[in-house]
């Protein structure tokens, strides 16, 4: 209903001459390329609310899910670059997608106007609760010994647990776990809790309560610093796998060719939204990490996209045997 109303108002206002200095004069739609309720959707909704207040126009989250997020991003990349259609890109859609989708219709590095990093959710290595290992070193030794007898769950093609899981596999000497696909985080986690599979990697928000409740065990968090949500959990650096450092980052992009003043306004709104005490608390609750001052803004995001592409694409292609 709200969306319909927004669209009607939008059409009426659109008839007026729109100058960039007045931007925004009608609601802005933010495409989230995943289903409502997932981590990226939640992060988008947390920032959309204060951004709406700051910009004086509704920022409406529009979920366009499909094909590992690339359906929504393809649509967003083709939108008119007027600042009324922006999107929440993601480690998968802007870092890994070219390796998994040979017919990808966009280039993550050149087809977008980077607006800024929103928040990342760190990756944790988790295992079933009666797993024999008690720490990461023992786990690595176990994985090397078991070879392909170890079962690693993931939440489907191109999901975060898939790509971060493959990356972990490339860094575990001697290990070659058998990958077991699921159709989502819920089913994968369910079988990890009931012990059907041995281990997986996933975002902190998905596993934190299961770890606290003792349903699964965690070996390490793949960030440079420990998370306030799980202060006892060592980082991969402390636990002996420093090269495994990953976080599922989420960032706001516009289509290519967004006017500079529009970009600046959106950047300003995003940064203020990230500093909003209410959103800070919400990010803390879900273990999200908000970038510091030097991680924000367009240039920093562009750099991140390029470095992520350079790191993920060869690694995933090599591991999955795709060219």
């Amino acid at each position: 209903m709200k969306r319909l109303l927004g669209a009607v108002i939008g059409c009426v206002v659109f008839a007026l001459p729109a100058f960039a200095q007045n931007y925004p004069t009608r609601p802005i739609s933010m495409i989230v390329p995943f289903a409502a309720g997932g981590p990226t959707d939640i992060i988008a909704r947390i920032v959309a609310e204060p951004m709406s207040r700051i910009l004086g126009q509704q920022v409406i989250v529009e979920n366009v899910a499909g094909a590992g997020g690339t359906t929504g991003i393809t649509r967003g990349a083709g939108a008119k670059p007027d600042g009324y259609a922006i999107m929440m890109g993601h480690m998968g859609t802007h870092g890994v997608a070219p390796a998994l989708f040979p017919n990808l219709k966009y280039n993550p590095a050149t087809d977008f106007t980077p607006i800024g990093l929103a928040a990342g959710t760190p990756i944790i290595i988790v295992a079933k609760k009666n797993h024999p290992a008690t720490n990461l070193k023992e786990f690595l030794a176990w994985a090397a010994k078991e070879g392909n007898k170890a079962n690693q769950a993931y939440a489907g093609n191109a999901s975060v647990s898939h790509t971060t899981g493959i990356l972990l596999g490339t860094m575990m000497p001697g290990a070659s776990p058998t990958l077991v696909p699921y159709t989502g985080t819920g089913p994968a986690l369910n079988d990890l809790v009931s012990g059907q599979v041995d281990f997986m990697t996933d975002q902190i928000v998905n596993v934190v309560e299961q770890i606290r409740g003792g349903n699964i065990k965690a070996f390490a968090i793949a960030t440079p610093q420990r998370s306030p949500a799980l202060p006892d959990l060592p980082t991969t650096k402390e636990a002996g796998l420093p090269q495994y450092e990953v976080s599922a980052w989420n960032a706001v992009f516009g289509p290519k060719g967004l006017p500079a003043d529009v970009t600046a306004k959106l950047q300003d709104a995003l940064n203020k939204a990230l500093d909003d005490p209410n959103s800070k608390k919400r990010f803390d609750d879900l273990g999200g990490v908000v970038p510091g001052p030097d991680g924000r803004g367009g240039p920093a995001l562009q750099k991140l996209v390029e470095s992520e592409l350079a790191r993920w694409v060869p690694a995933i292609k090599a591991a999955t045997g795709k060219k």
Binding site: G38, T71, P181, Y182, E209
Partner: protein, 499 residues
């Protein structure tokens, strides 16, 4: 006495003025939007999620749960009135529910659905409160192999859905299975039968398929038989079920509640099987199975109760374990997370107000649904009096809006148009769509679970018989198949049909 104390605490939370209001509002909105053909609970909750942001967490979740029940019930309303199932679990309701509507017994069908659902909801609420935790442990015994065997059993059931030829029903199940393989391969990420259409890369959606094959095709068929058009309008009949009809429905409701509630606990969307299983049971034990598919009231009462019981008990894995068993529950997880409560195994101890408040609100929500829907029945039934030349275009327009709004995609509307013609042809050649939809729904789960089981067993088929639960399920399925295939039994069946 813990149970009584806990429920008292829950009702203390749910019965505050604000929460009663939110529960009512949720059920009302859910019913109204859910009645839009094609808009099922998932789409409704996703659309309405933002309006709960300003509310306190417990209130927001109570309202969302209300929207869920409301939309679920709204889906049954469209199934009965216009033969359009809002989601997979309402498919069975179209079989006898819409036939009842055609005979002028729409009010009775809707009333039985509402009362049966209320009863099932009440039982399921108590069930969750008393047995939630031990049942979670039981459900954890179900791994991929057990699931696969359960789905096989479901497919064997599906042949019973057929009103005509069993042979044709099997063909339709197979077609449904084939359709379910369209999309990206789970394991390799390769696209299958997508013909390069990007929209198909995540597979066919249930909504366009069901609406095209059921609702739109039905409209087309009505258009080419003018004399049939007056059937629905001719007699409206009584609005509420009579005492005799209610009595007739008590055993099916009890059985449906039990079956649906049990299947709903299983993580991985076991609830979809509930209504199908209930229908199968009712048809099998009926004295005169030939009435089924022609407006048998048990065919509405049983599955509707199973549907609602399953919808409630599907909350069990979410509330006790923090793991969503289906897409609707995944949305509830998102809603909880947005409100700062990340669901997990400790919700019950860390947020007892939320946990017991939710459970109490389930019962409240079901009561609200009866209060909202019994008076609405009169309005819905009057809608059937609207002349077809006005009603058909209106249905088509609302359906198209509904389909579009689910994914914001034009392609979904086009694929509905495509399936309308497929559905029309199927009707003309005497193939029934219900077994196909069951094949389609089960096919996805079945393939996923089969492959997971095979990967975990490293390619050994023995896994399905080595695991005791799986072996028992397969044995039941096999037994049913033999009964269906025995020539003497079949002959008897045909005699029944001939009568």
């Amino acid at each position: 006495m813990d149970l009584v104390n806990n429920l008292a605490q829950g009702f203390g939370v749910a019965l505050t003025f604000q929460n009663i209001g939110l529960c009512f509002l949720g059920c009302m909105i859910g019913t109204l939007i859910g009645v839009l053909p094609g808009v099922g609970p998932i789409a409704t909750i996703a659309m309405l999620l933002p309006i709960t942001f300003g509310l306190p967490p417990v209130g927001a979740l109570i309202m969302l749960a209300g929207i869920y029940y409301g939309a679920q019930y709204g889906g049954s309303t469209t199934a009965i009135l216009v033969n359009i199932p809002g989601e997979a679990t309402a498919v069975v309701t179209t079989l006898d529910g819409h036939q009842m509507a055609k005979q002028g017994r729409a009010g009775t069908a809707l009333g039985v659905a509402a009362l049966g659902s209320f009863f099932a909801g009440t039982v399921a609420t108590l069930f969750i409160a008393a047995m939630g935790e031990p049942l979670t442990k039981l459900a954890q015994l179900f791994g991929p192999a057990e699931y696969f065997s359960l789905m096989v059993m479901g497919l064997v059931f599906s042949t019973v859905l057929a009103q005509g030829s069993v042979y044709k029903a099997i063909l339709m199940v197979l077609l449904g299975l084939l359709l379910s393989t369209i999309g990206t391969d789970l394991e390799t990420g390769q696209e299958r039968i997508t013909m390069g259409i990007q929209n198909l890369s995540d597979g066919l959606d249930f909504t366009p398929l069901a609406m095209g094959i059921f609702g739109f095709a039905e409209i087309l068929r009505n258009l080419d038989t003018p004399e049939a058009r007056d059937v629905v309008r001719s007699a409206i009949g009584r609005l509420l079920p009579s005492m005799a009809e209610i009595k007739q429905c008590i055993p099916p409701v009890l059985r449906g509640t039990f079956i649906g509630g049990l299947l709903g606990i299983l993580p991985g969307n076991g609830a979809v099987l509930g209504p199908f299983a209930s229908y199968t049971v009712e048809k099998k034990i009926a004295k005169d199975p030939s009435r089924f598919g022609k407006g048998a009231i048990e065919g509405v009462a049983g599955p509707e109760s199973a549907n609602n019981a399953g919808a409630q008990t599907a909350f069990i894995p979410l509330l006790t374990l923090g793991i969503p068993p289906n897409a609707v529950m995944a949305l509830m997880v998102g809603a909880m997370t947005i409100h700062g409560i990340i669901p997990g195994p400790q919700v019950m101890t860390k947020n007892p107000d939320l946990f017991w408040g939710m459970i109490a609100s389930m019962w409240l929500g079901n009561a609200m649904l009866v209060i909202i829907n019994l008076p609405l029945i009169g309005i819905w039934v009057k809608l059937l009096k609207v002349p077809y030349r006005m009603m058909f275009p209106a249905i088509l327009i609302f359906c198209c809006i509904g389909i579009y709004s689910v994914n914001n995609a034009m392609e979904d509307v086009l694929s509905t148009a495509f399936f309308t013609f497929v559905g029309y042809l199927l009707i003309k050649f005497g193939y029934e769509p219900a077994p196909m939809l069951l094949g389609f729904v089960l096919g996805k789960l079945m393939e996923e679970k089969f492959r997971q089981a095979m990967i975990l067993s490293r390619g050994s088929f023995m896994t399905f018989v080595e695991r005791p639960v799986s072996a028992v399920l397969l044995a039941i399925a096999f037994g049913l198949l033999i009964i269906a295939a025995l020539p003497s039994m079949r002959k008897k069946r045909e005699e029944v049909f001939a009568e």
